[in-house]
């Protein structure tokens, strides 16, 4: 039997175990809640995890479409990127599937001499982890972009005596010239260069 058939055969177990291990990266009470509450609006993180991992596993064992995979990773990583995880812990969830497959299928892989196929599978997982890193960075950059836009608006309030956006738009690029004249703002700009 080929590894892909084995993965298909053990799909439910592998997928459930993957979700369980990801949920267990949260504190105990949270992990239980994420797994047990099945309303997608009352438990957005748990239900996103369930849906995305189910589809992601299907992608891995079937078409392996990189765009769809990136989209599914986005669903999960976008959440982890703003939670209490280090960057490594945020994307480490991808590698979990390697351990799960080895734990579950070690005997059959050995018996069926499927080591070559396992290498290929794991190589795919490694590449998905790299995609996860891209997604993580995209999310973090977005957070900082939103933060930066927010901060950029504050000095205008001080410099312009709080003029409204309509006024700012009418004044065109005036604010860019102002930047250089304002110490506080120059500091902000410098720290972001």
């Amino acid at each position: 039997m080929k590894l892909s058939s084995l993965l298909e055969q053990h799909r439910e177990h592998i997928k459930d175990e993957w979700i369980r291990r990801i949920a267990n990266t949260y504190p105990l009470k949270t992990a239980r809640f994420l797994r047990e509450k099945h309303d997608e609006f009352a438990n957005p993180v748990g239900s996103t995890l369930e849906k995305a991992i189910t589809s992601l596993f299907s992608e891995i064992i079937n078409e392996c479409d990189p765009d769809r995979i990136a989209g599914l990773l986005d669903d999960i990583i976008r959440i982890r990127a703003v939670q209490d995880f280090s960057p490594s812990a945020a994307v480490a969830i991808v590698f979990m599937i390697k351990d799960i497959v080895r734990d579950r299928l070690a005997g059959e892989i050995k018996k069926g001499d499927l080591t070559e196929e396992l290498f290929t599978f794991e190589s795919t997982v490694d590449r998905i982890a790299l995609l996860a890193f891209d997604v993580y960075m995209k999310c973090r950059e977005k957070v900082w972009e939103i933060k930066m836009n927010d901060v950029m608006q504050r000095p205008f309030m001080l410099m312009e005596g709080a003029m409204c956006t309509s006024y700012m738009l009418r004044r065109g690029n005036m604010h860019l010239e102002k930047i250089g004249n304002d110490d506080e703002f120059t500091d902000i700009r410098r720290s972001n260069n």
Partner: protein, 543 residues
């Protein structure tokens, strides 16, 4: 031969959360989750205690020597003063009904964001320091001692609650965790431990009449710039009045709408609506703020900032007050304003001068919500509307926490929206009306530096928006709150980038047929309306 280490041993990536109970996990203050410390001069401005320079990252937060006595005395005083607080400290049985109802818990996964645990941060001090059983039995009675580290933990989590009151909806005992947070913040303010994002608006409001510190001429000037936009986009000239004595109605709205996108479009909507019906009203550059960040500081501060609203109404001699789209403003107005101030004999029971409707619900308060007012106008056929101008928009409605849970304003905005937009879709039942999810940044947490916290808190709401966006193609999230307009814009940018945020009154004005208007090919944002714009005509000519 030495044992070869596994990769897991050499390169440790921590995927295992702590197993201890919450009391044994020391607080870890993380950047992106907290807002910056208040500036001492902003504390001084309003005469609050212990103004001093400090930073959240400092080991020493500059507490006075007797801080513990002050805290516990403050705690005792509030237990006596607010019977509800005493009850909330005593009766929680930790059933967990509230645990998974908080947007911050759902978005962060941090158990200390379960409302029960957040309240327990204070309750444990109450038991451990202020009850006999707790003083003797300590941990056995769920008590603990107040330490500097514990105070930091309380601070960290009191500013991770938006006082939205969703949790209280599910509490079988009716415990209002928001009130616990309110008292928790009051206690922290005994030491000048506010966040600047709250304290500076408080100081501004005290000195200038509004959170943004807009001086009277700037306030007026900003509105004049919006009038220029209306003239350009709609083709009509409007000339509202400011501080006019003898006007029938005083209009008060949050100052955020005078300053920032997309709130300014909502304000343009008010201007057009009042022009459309020929309302005898005035703006005030003194009561130039509907919101009340004092409410996120202490109840006394909320009272001081609120006083100007009735004061100004009396000074101008208006009959009643019309209030704009705001969230916590309406909680303060609806639940506190009457008792904050002397009986308001100078004002009359509000009656719509256009329809004759008596707003009996506002008989005592003398203040009417703009959505109630607009819904009444529509119901009586007083508005000329062309809803098809909003046909390119697929709209859903976000119930803001305070108007929905604190004043029961659920149907009026929906009625208005359904009359000015042809495409309206509700989000799932357990995310709207009384059960609405918070925007994630209310109660003064709408700073920039705590954006990760805001994104966490905004997740449950965004999750429901994403659902209707994918199912029905929803592209506009309408609401009646100035903080929502600002914060949901950021939240949508992260979670649902295809969805724009708009005030209900902006959509009303887009649909209003104004006397003497131009071809209305532009909306209030100066964007071409699909199917009406010049570009579309050019494209058709090309074909």
């Amino acid at each position: 031969m030495a044992k070869q280490l596994t990769p897991q041993e050499t390169m440790r990536i921590d995927l295992n959360p702590p197993k201890e109970g919450w009391m044994d996990i020391p607080v870890k203050i993380k950047e992106g989750i907290y807002s910056y410390a208040t500036k001492p001069e902003k504390v001084e401005d309003v005469g609050m205690p212990n103004p001093h320079k400090w930073a959240v990252t400092d080991e020493d937060w500059g507490l006075p020597e007797n801080w513990k006595e002050v805290f516990l005395e403050g705690f005792r005083e509030r237990l006596e003063k607010h019977r509800s607080f005493k009850i909330f400290m005593d009766i929680c049985v930790r059933c967990g009904a509230c645990a998974d109802k908080c947007h911050f818990f759902l978005g962060s996964g941090d158990p200390k964001n379960m409302p029960v645990v957040r309240a327990e941060l204070l309750r444990s001090i109450y038991r451990g320091e202020l009850t006999t059983a707790g003083r003797i039995l300590g941990r056995l009675a769920g008590g603990r001692k107040l330490t500097r580290q514990v105070l930091k933990e309380i601070w960290y989590y009191m500013f991770q609650c938006t006082e939205c009151r969703r949790c209280s909806l599910f509490c079988p005992y009716g415990i209002d965790t928001a009130e616990v947070t309110i008292i928790g913040r009051e206690l922290l303010n005994l030491f000048g431990l506010n966040i600047n994002w709250i304290q500076e608006p408080v100081s501004n409001c005290y000195k200038f009449g509004n959170h943004l510190g807009l001086q009277p001429h700037t306030f007026k000037q900003n509105i004049e710039f919006m009038l220029m936009d209306i003239e350009e986009f709609v083709g009509i000239k409007i000339e509202p009045t400011f501080n006019r004595k003898g006007a029938e109605i005083l209009f008060i709205t949050p100052s955020g709408d005078v300053f920032a996108e997309p709130g300014i479009y909502t304000l343009m909507g008010y201007l057009m609506l009042f022009e459309h019906i020929g309302l005898d009203y005035t703006w005030s550059t003194y009561a130039s703020e509907g919101g009340n960040f004092g409410f996120f500081t202490s109840l006394e501060m909320a009272q001081r900032l609120n006083a100007k609203m009735y004061h100004e109404a009396k000074r101008l001699g208006v009959k009643w007050i019309l209030g704009g789209e705001c969230g916590h403003m309406w909680r303060v107005v609806h639940q506190y304003m009457n008792t904050f101030n002397e009986p308001v004999d100078s004002l009359e029971e509000p009656v719509s001068p256009i329809t004759g409707t008596k707003f009996e619900n506002a008989k005592s308060l003398k203040m009417v919500h703009i959505s109630e007012f607009t819904a009444d106008l529509i119901k009586h056929g007083k508005l000329k509307l062309e809803p098809s101008r909003n046909d390119h928009l697929k709209v859903t409605f976000h119930d803001s926490c305070n108007p929905s849970r604190a004043m029961g304003l659920l149907d009026e905005p929906r009625y208005v929206l359904k009359n000015v937009c042809n495409n309206f879709y509700e989000m799932p039942e357990n995310t709207i009306r009384e059960q609405t999810f918070c925007c994630g940044s209310g109660s003064g947490l709408n700073a920039g530096e705590n954006m990760e916290l805001r994104m966490r808190g905004g997740l449950p709401r965004a999750n429901a928006v994403k659902y209707v966006s994918e199912k029905h193609g929803v592209n506009v999230l309408a609401n009646v709150c100035a903080i929502d307009r600002a914060t949901l814009s950021a939240s949508m940018e992260y979670w649902c980038p295809d969805v724009a945020v708009a005030g209900v009154s902006e959509l009303v004005a887009n649909a209003l047929i104004m006397e003497g208007e131009n071809d209305r090919s532009l909306n209030l944002r100066g964007e071409e309306i699909p199917g009406r714009g010049t570009q579309d005509e050019e494209a058709q000519e090309d074909v």
